[in-house]
Amino acid sequence: MKSSLWQCTWLTAIAAALAWIPSTAAAEDAKPFRVGIVTFLSGAAAGPFGVPARNAAEVVVEALNAGTVVAPYGNTKGIGGAPLEIVFVDEAGGTTKQVTEYRNLVQQKNVDAVIGYISSGDCLAIAPVADELKKLTVFFDCGTPRIFEDASYKYLFRTGATATIDNVAAALYLNEHKKNTRKIAGINQNYAWGQDSWNDFVAAMKVLVPNVQIATSQMPKLLAGQYGAEISALLSADADVVHSSFWGGDLDALILQGAPRGLFKKSTVVLTAGETAVQKLGDQIPDGTIIGARGPFDMFAPDTELNRWFRKVYTDRYNVPPSYPSYKMAQAIFGLKAAYEKAQAGGKAAPSQEQIIVAFEHLTFEGPGGKVTMGLGKGHQAVQGTAYGTVKHVGDKFTLTNVTTYTAERVTPPDGVKSEDWIKGLKAAK
């Protein structure tokens, strides 16, 4: 008796749960433009990347819908007059999970476009699905050049530059500001991003300093957190330059554990994604450290009206200034808006997806980090310059000196050439 009662209760519960799931998306009026936004909301990448990106999406979309954004996006409310609606999804859980959730966004939530993805693995997995489901998709952050160098896609765009620029520009910067570099060492996380960053950097350095020596390449596990032995190995390596593409908690730990031990004094440390540590840890990053922001973002951003506006609304809401993932998210949303409105061609009617895609290809639009051109991958991949600077505390204040910007042409291969091949022909002189 008891068991059959239980059975009934459970079956009812499951049936209720299943009924509650919107299996066929609820009908809604076609007016709002629905965007699925996928970024890390949990796990180690949430703090440094995912949540700053989500926050940027929230303030920007809110301001767009209220019509309070400054030029060049002040003319229309929302996106081409239609209010924007966002659906957030957590990027955690691995590629299988993400492909499932992407399909759910498209097929069940009926979004009009998807903006997202920080992890390169997720981007690689989502790319073919975007074309399969024929859904306009904008990658805002992931860095692997493989996406558009190994394949081409119709429905897919990436409004952020590839990771190639980070390490090529780092090498160029050293070549300019630290001419006596003879011996380099690296500490990078042991996964695709860390390995690619180190390989690109070494390849570029080998071109610029033909007899460069590689003292050691440390590859600790992602999220290892304890780098005592690695720091010892780097200290004994006696290198002129230590390269690191660390981010998030790992980067913080490297600074906290390396600085007291003199790592940053003994070698010039280049932190290609160093910008994310500046907000919280700026006073702990020793003078002389070279940091980048993976593009012209945050302290490297141009002093434009749009940038000033973005920094203000973001800081007012979250009490911290936007970091580079916030910039890249804003850039993606503005890119989509620019393409959409270009497709409208001055009219009021909603353009078709095909029209937006045609407008998006080879588009040049403005983001808070300056002009972005969809110049690679048949007009689907953004090219953008980047910048590096050297840390110098003035009093208690964190500042950068020797800030050098590199144009997109200097750090990006031309269309159709693979990054790894292009780096081998890198020219030092301007």
Binding site: K2, S3, S4, W6, Q7, W10, L11, I14, A17, L18, I21, S23, T24, L41, S42, F88, V89, D90, G93, G94, T95, T96, K97, V99, T100, E101, R103, N104, Q107, Q108, K109, S120, G121, L124, A125, A127, P128, V129, E132, T144, R146, A151, N190, Y191, A192, W193, Q195, D196, N199
Partner: protein, 312 residues
């Protein structure tokens, strides 16, 4: 009706229902395909659980299966789904035969931990292999079936149907296996190894065979997952993947060969719903759901369907 037929009838009915539901609800096909693929790995794990063993390293074979199928497609241009699935299954089985000689000596937590260590070593090797894309992995071209591409709206349905048939075949085979003398040894080994030896059976050999079957199923599931998702990466060998299989197996219960698939589908649905409805707190929702099942359904989800007494 004798019990064997009863299972057959249930499974056939389940197959028909699955196909019909999938045809009616295309948005759920993908999730269900992945769930059935993972269900294969869980089914193998159930065989081990019935023997009293828990492997925290089925990800090793899941990943091997996926990489074998994906590698064949990527580097040798093989696209036939059946060939790729067979390859995944076979590679996993061969590796399991070798490692089985070692693992068959282990029990309890040590079996779990050694299998975990082995799978993490594969993970490390793959992360090191930049030719295979390191942690980013690589994409797998859409498979074909008899020269017909399994992509697009109809193709996806046939891939789903293939997953259903594979799951059906796996469940039926395992059900038959449980009814052979060697299969029946599972419960005996779990309850008392010593007495099994006194009876004249070799516990070691029995465990070895079961291990190979379980791993072949994991390899099959991995290959199917790779083909469905279109992308594979080393995370498939990470301990969290293996852990997920164990959790689904326990939550589902070992009451029937259909339980792993039911558990897997429900787990994926619950997780997906949690993702969609509370993107910021889905772990909280999932964890709570797991605790509720453990507390109120100690014999696993399957006990909802099984009447008292038939569960054992």
């Amino acid at each position: 009706m004798n019990p064997r037929d009863r299972t057959l009838v249930t499974l056939v009915a389940a197959l028909v229902v699955l196909l019909a539901v999938g045809a009616l609800l295309p948005p759920w096909q993908f999730l269900a395909t992945v769930a059935l693929a993972k269900g294969c790995a869980v089914l193998g794990l159930m065989l081990l659980l019935r023997t009293g063993l828990v492997s925290f390293g089925q990800g090793l074979y899941f990943c091997l299966g996926a990489y074998s199928a994906g590698g064949l497609g990527q580097f040798l241009g093989v696209t036939d789904a059946l060939v790729l699935l067979a390859a995944g299954c076979l590679v996993a089985a061969v590796v399991a035969v070798v490692l089985g000689f070692l693992l068959a000596n282990y029990r309890n937590i040590f079996f779990a931990m050694l299998s975990l260590a082995l799978s993490m070593i594969l993970y490390g090797l793959l992360v090191k292999s930049q030719a295979l894309g390191s942690t980013d992995g690589f994409n797998v071209a859409p498979p074909t079936l008899a020269g017909w591409a399994l992509s697009g709206h109809d193709g996806r349905f046939f891939l789903y149907a293939l997953a259903c048939v594979v799951a059906f075949a796996g469940a039926l085979t395992l059900d038959r296996y449980f009814k052979t003398p060697l299969g029946r040894l599972a419960a005996a080994i779990r309850d008392n190894e010593l007495r099994v030896e006194y009876m004249g059976a070799s516990v070691r050999q029995a465990i070895h065979v079961k291990y190979v079957i379980a791993c072949a199923l994991a390899g099959l599931g991995g290959a199917l997952t790779g083909l469905t998702v279109g992308h594979i990466d080393p995370e498939m060998a990470y301990w969290t993947t293996s852990g997920e299989f164990v959790f689904v197996a326990i939550l589902a219960g070992t009451g029937s060969v259909a339980a792993p698939f039911l558990g897997s589908v429900l787990f994926e649905i619950v997780r997906s719903v949690a993702y969609q409805h509370s993107p910021n707190t889905w772990q909280l929702a999932l964890g709570t759901a797991m605790l509720l099942v453990i507390m109120f359904l100690p014999r696993g989800l399957w006990s909802i369907f099984a009447t008292r007494g038939k569960v054992a």
